[in-house]
């Protein structure tokens, strides 16, 4: 009996005093039996007690299917105050002011109180498979926000009224599975977290692309120095005479090189009848007259976005690193939704006519993006410079198709900024400030972030974000952005969620105050 008590104490001690991990006790009990400290029967009694206690705990009542080897529940809740304001131009053929009709120098402003919920489950399965599922509020690909009181109208689902639930709907944001059975490789299929290294300038972080992704990453580590050699010179201490004669540290420093490649084949526009009944449908006059596409056959094949990225991250001692990850995007076609040529608006038609031009076409886009980041520490303070550069090699064609021949030079987008601090533990803070510039024919307007400059191109400006960790799981984040039209002869293409109905967008202001709770 004494031995049995000893065994139970040993097992409980090893398991941190909880019975929730009773199944882990097997190896320890087997060892005690092997050492003849207890008998098989005594081990069995201890095991039975632990299983009984475990079964009666909350955790013990959860049952997972056998193939699951690890499961993680995670997510976040965000409360947001959101101000956005957009201004029409002071010159040009804007319409005469009226109710809901933009005039010159007309501001549209809005304040919203919003929330978002993201609830995820991800895990690993036997034989190197994995899966993930995340539920999110809001059907938009570029937003997970729900506006309080936004569904009060009687026309809202459920009939509206105060505190209606018409827009408090949960959607499948991510649903993917993958395989990691080959060293350094990850294969993923489904609706997945963006596998690319990128920035807000090119991809809205809320977008979860659908399709296939293949990733490869390999780490090379170099030991440099170690009691002598060139690489150690930097560690040498100086004598009073200032000469590097004092013996170097014998500890070698390590240089780490991560090389990676990410490839994506994303279904951009699917569910198309490849062999429709009757004759092929054609572009209607209302949709195609402005771009000369009236009567053209509408594409009858799915459109795919293909991404090709290779990159590297070089990490030096003391958290100094440099990362670059060029990526090329091309499209296999326009599909039947994005086939009308992009125009992006014009300052030479009334504001409403400008908005009505095509803002989503994906014709003539072959984009190279080069995100880069350099990081270092001053004392214990992490700092980094980040940047991104993109150019559309087919901007001339895109501009011509938009009726803007000669504007093909509007092919570049770039951003650069400075980040100080890093959010990890309670009390940590972080500030990022950056400049962003995106020309009219440079990027896919359907993918760019919809917060900073309202998902519109031909805009440039500054943004600043400051965050403070109230705890390791809760932070307060303030973001402000101010942007303005870049090229006065072009519209500001794209469909934003704020400042709706304004194109060109002469100025745009954005402010959010977020309370983020992560779990």
């Amino acid at each position: 009996m004494k031995k049995l008590t000893l065994a139970a104490i040993a097992v409980c001690f090893a398991l941190g005093g909880t019975a929730a991990r009773a199944e882990d006790a097997g190896a320890l009990l087997d060892l005690l039996v092997k050492k003849k400290l207890i008998t098989d029967q005594e081990a069995e009694e201890v095991r039975g007690e632990l299983i009984k206690e475990s079964a009666e705990t909350s955790a013990g009542k959860w049952k997972l299917s056998t193939p699951i080897t690890e499961l993680e529940l995670y997510g976040d809740v965000r409360l947001r105050y959101n101000y956005d304001g957009g201004r029409t131009k002071s010159r040009g053929p804007t319409a005469a002011p009226g109710v809901g009709v933009a005039g010159a120098d007309d501001w549209q402003e809005r304040s919203r109180e919003r929330y978002r919920l993201r609830l995820g489950l991800r895990g690993t399965l036997m034989d190197d498979w994995f899966f993930g599922l995340r539920l999110e509020t809001n059907a938009s690909p570029r937003s997970t926000n729900v506006t309080f009181g936004g569904d009060a109208s009687p026309s809202s689902p459920g009939g509206g009224g105060p505190f209606a639930k018409g827009d408090d709907t949960v959607y499948v944001g991510q649903a993917y599975a993958g395989y990691k059975g080959f060293p350094d490789f990850t294969f993923t299929g489904g609706r997945m977290p963006n596998p690319l290294v990128t920035t807000l300038m090119v991809w809205d972080p809320d977008i979860n692309p659908e399709g296939l992704a293949e990733q490869w990453k390999h780490t090379f580590t170099f030991n440099i120095g170690g009691g002598g050699g060139e690489a150690v010179q930097g560690y040498s201490k100086y004598s009073k005479e200032g000469k590097g004669v004092v013996a170097a540290q014998s500890e070698p420093f390590k240089l780490k090189l991560d090389l990676f490649a990410n490839f994506g084949q994303f279904v951009y526009n699917g569910n198309i009848n490849t062999n429709p009944l009757g004759t092929r449908p054609t572009v209607s006059a209302s949709a195609g007259d402005a771009t000369g596409q009236t009567g053209q056959e509408i594409p009858h094949y799915d459109a795919f976005l293909l991404a090709w990225q290779v990159g590297g991250r070089l990490t030096f001692p003391n958290n100094v690193y440099f990362q670059v990850a060029p990526v090329v995007y091309n499209y296999t076609g326009d599909g039947n939704v994005f086939n009308i040529h992009y125009q992006g608006g014009s300052p030479y038609v009334t504001n409403s006519a400008s908005v009505a031009q095509n803002q989503t076409g994906i014709n003539s886009l072959l984009v190279l993006e080069v995100p880069m980041e350099v990081g270092w520490k001053i004392g214990e303070l992490p700092m980094r410079i980040f940047s991104d550069f993109a150019t559309n090699f087919e901007a001339d064609d895109r501009a011509s198709a938009a009726g803007q021949s000669g504007q093909g030079s509007q092919r570049f987008a770039y951003t650069a900024g400075l980040g100080i601090g890093q959010l990890k533990e309670k009390g940590d803070w972080q500030i990022d400030i950056w400049y962003q510039h995106a020309e009219q024919f440079s990027l896919d307007p359907n993918l760019i972030d919809d917060d900073i400059f309202n998902a519109q191109l031909n805009m440039h400006g500054i943004a600043v974000r400051a965050a403070y960790n109230l705890s390791s799981a809760v932070n307060l984040t303030l973001t402000y952005a101010h942007g303005w039209q870049y090229n006065g002869n072009l519209g500001t293409g794209g469909v934003g969620q704020a400042a709706t109905g304004i194109n060109p967008l002469a100025q745009f202001n954005w402010f959010t105050a977020d309370l983020n709770v992560k779990f």
């Binding site: 009773a22 199944e23 087997d30 039996v33 092997k34 098989d40 029967q41 069995e44 009694e45 095991r47 039975g48 299983i51 009984k52 475990s54 079964a55 009666e56 013990g60 009542k61 049952k63 056998t66 193939p67 036997m126 034989d127």
Partner: protein, 270 residues
């Protein structure tokens, strides 16, 4: 007259109680219940005249369920009770008390005509999960492998999954059999057959037990826990056994019972 009826009723009631006291209901594992427990019961009856046994060997799951439901005094099991079963018992105010009655080795058997001399643990996993479907892939002379397993209520079925298959599913084409004897018989008839049985069933004709990573299922290797597919077998009771059940449990783990354990082909606990 009424008094007489009452006396008869009381006598009947006592008579029934007396009869129940000499009757032991045991349900569960086919591994234990097909051979070992009936022989233990016969010996016990010889020492305890008037005792009767009601033994139903339909799989370990049924034995554990019988303890939870209170329809048996002893539940035979060739596997440990699952946490879900222990939880269900606790919810009904029952305490699943395990008593190890014997050790067993789950032997992987092939037809005696099969030229294979032994298997590795990896090969066993591949065969039973269907990763490998031809004997030539594991050193045999060729031929489509026929996998025989126990049915899902069997403790051996789940024990083998855990011990030998990393909890993976059985091959989709595997054939589920009701008991050890049926598996031994089928493998004995089929030159391409492979299955698993408790050690007590390896003496059947036409089959041979495979060494696993060089370890042969034997009394020595199982007692030393060096044979990879060794396992304890259990009686489960609701708390500490009492009355006739206690006497039978004590008899089973005692020297007389353990002699029978060895005779039947199981491995004694000491």
């Amino acid at each position: 007259m009424k008094l007489k009826h009452l006396a008869i009723l009381i006598a009947l009631a006592f008579g029934v109680t007396e009869a129940n006291a000499d009757r032991l209901v045991i349900k569960g594992s086919d591994t234990l219940g097909a051979k070992l427990v009936p022989q233990l019961a016969e010996q016990f009856k010889a020492q305890h005249p008037g005792t009767t046994f009601d033994i139903a060997a339909e799989g370990s799951t049924t034995g554990i369920a019988a303890i939870i439901d209170g329809t048996a005094e002893i539940g035979m099991s060739s596997r440990r009770a699952k946490s879900s079963e222990v939880g269900a018992a606790a919810a009904k105010g029952k305490h699943m008390k395990p008593t190890i009655v014997a050790f067993d080795g789950i032997a992987v058997i092939v037809n005696s005509a099969n030229p294979i001399k032994g298997l590795t643990k990896k090969q066993v996993e591949q065969i039973f999960t269907g990763d490998v479907t031809d004997w030539s892939a594991v050193g045999g002379s060729g031929g489509k492998i026929s996998v025989y397993t126990r049915n899902t209520s069997s403790g051996t079925y789940s024990d083998f999954k855990e011990l030998a298959m990393k909890k993976r599913d059985y091959a989709s084409g595997s054939q589920k059999m009701a008991g050890n004897e049926q598996i031994a018989a089928e493998v004995g008839k089929n030159p391409n057959g492979v299955g698993y049985v408790g050690m007590a069933y390896t003496k059947a004709g036409g089959i041979k037990a495979m060494p696993i990573d060089g370890a042969v299922p034997s009394t020595k290797s199982v007692q030393a826990h060096t044979y990879p597919y060794w396992r304890p077998t259990f009686y489960y009771t609701n708390g500490d056994p009492s009355g006739l059940a206690k006497e039978f449990v004590d008899f089973t783990v005692g020297s007389g019972g353990q002699r029978i354990v060895a005779q039947v082909g199981f491995v004694p606990i000491k």
